[in-house]
Amino acid sequence: MAYTTFNRNEFDTFEQPMFFGEPVNVARYDQQKHKIFENLIEKQLSFFWRPEEVDLTNDRKDFMDLPEHEKHIFVSNLKYQTLLDSVQGRSPNVALLPVVSLPELETWIETWSFSETIHSRSYTHIVRNIVPNPAVVFDDITKNEYIVRRAISVTKYYDDFIELSNYYQQLGEGKHTVNGETIDVNLHELKRRLYLTMVSVNVLEAIRFYVSFACSFAFAERAKMEGNAKIIKLIARDEALHLTGTQHMLQIMARGKDDAEFAQIAEECRDDVVAIFHEAAEQEKEWADYLFKDGSMIGLNKDILSQYVEYITNQRIGALGFEPIFDVRNNPLPWINAWLNSDNVQVAPQEAEISSYLVGAIDSEVDTADFGDFDL
């Protein structure tokens, strides 16, 4: 089915599934099949923040005083998060927008991706602040084997889906010969890839980010890199919302609420889902090993972090209606919850200590020299 940016067919929006129905025409929100996406959009908009709002001057000093192995932990996590948000700032748009069929979901996907671009910009803000030449950090992202290995497993589901989806939009279902290769495009396989992509995104938001979050908050618990922790807190708040969005999409699919075929696919893919969660958890544990290769940091070491990964993996897979896959029953880092709680996120800058809030700011510095040319 060819994609059109303005579909002129008449159809009942309530009859449309989330994906692979009629392409969206009018971006109207008076008729909403899944109101939750509108709620998510509003919540995300209410969360709006800019990295420049957070003052990082103390972080520069803190960073210079960190021992080498802690600098490694800090910078490595930043690199990884930069990668994750680079992927998330573009892939939902590229992969999902061409096949989406509901206006509120289309707008949610755009809002979601947009907020990831703010996260990306905030990493540059942090990196600029701690190192003289940001390129040394960013250039390593595509070279570092520990990051690349995980990047592949994050992006392969997206790429597999996008490839087939492109053929589907150009050629439709059926067997096609392209450049001498036979390509079998069928909707069932396409939907399967979409479902697995959503699961992999869910894992990215639900598990992969949290190792970095834990380290950032562990620094801040010692009153180090607190500006960074403030930014990570804002990012964590957004990610929790994105996670909710993805869980809703997965559950709507798995319950066949608007497309019975997805319920069947979800049933077929149960083992794949467990495998994706398992692989991600193992990779994050390996990452913990890499982070602490030259030494642990106070309050956090490889074992505790690995247990935390297992714990949140159980939590997240449980939310999708699966049995836990690890034995950990209790949160080994309970203090993290307080950091992840958005209640302490500074949202009203006039109320407390953010000094660098930019909106509507005026320069109120007055020097006696300003009155120099006054005559009475």
Binding site: L40, S46, R237, A240, T244, L340, N341
Partner: protein, 170 residues
């Protein structure tokens, strides 16, 4: 979140942090459809500490203050939500593993449980992350804020609800 709700939340938070007296009239108005301005407590009158308070006069009538001596939870007056035409929600909460608590003063079920040393995973505390999800085996709850996180039919989010009956949780 509507502006009124945000204002109410901020009001509540201010109260909690400053321990000065504010009315929570806005919350109440919202919850009762805006028709009443009846306040939970008289603004001119600061509550006495529990030890200086006279004993309850009638055994079967409990008031907010009278309960201070009875149970754990917060011993300070918290701005509990009041529902017009509905008794104050005081309910027993039991867990499948044998732990017990009583909901009486708190704004949310989560706060109540935490005050009684029952720790539940949390993150956002306003219903959008789903971290505090627990299974409701028996009973009914009222959502103060509509939960946004995905929850199954038999699950509740304690961070944004209060009990409407005695509860059994898992």
């Amino acid at each position: 979140m509507t502006n009124a709700r945000r204002a109410a939340r901020i009001g509540r938070r201010r109260w909690a942090s400053s321990k000065t007296f504010h009315s929570d009239a806005q919350t109440e108005m919202e919850l009762t459809g805006g028709s009443t301005t009846q306040l939970e407590m008289d603004l001119g009158e600061l509550p006495l500490p529990s030890y200086a308070r006279p004993a309850p006069k009638e055994d079967n009538v409990l008031e907010q203050g009278d309960l201070f001596d009875l149970l754990a939870e917060s011993p300070e007056p918290t701005p509990q939500t009041i529902f017009e035409g509905m008794e104050k929600p005081i309910f027993e909460v039991a867990f499948a593993d044998g732990r017990n608590a009583r909901f009486q003063h708190a704004n949310t079920l989560l706060e109540s449980l935490e005050a009684q040393d029952i720790h539940i995973e949390y993150q956002c505390r306003e219903g959008y992350c789903g971290s505090c999800r627990v299974r409701l085996v028996e009973g009914d709850v009222h959502y103060i804020e509509e939960p946004m996180a995905w929850i199954d039919d038999d699950e509740i989010l304690p961070c944004c609800c209060i009990p409407k009956s005695a509860l059994k949780l898992q």
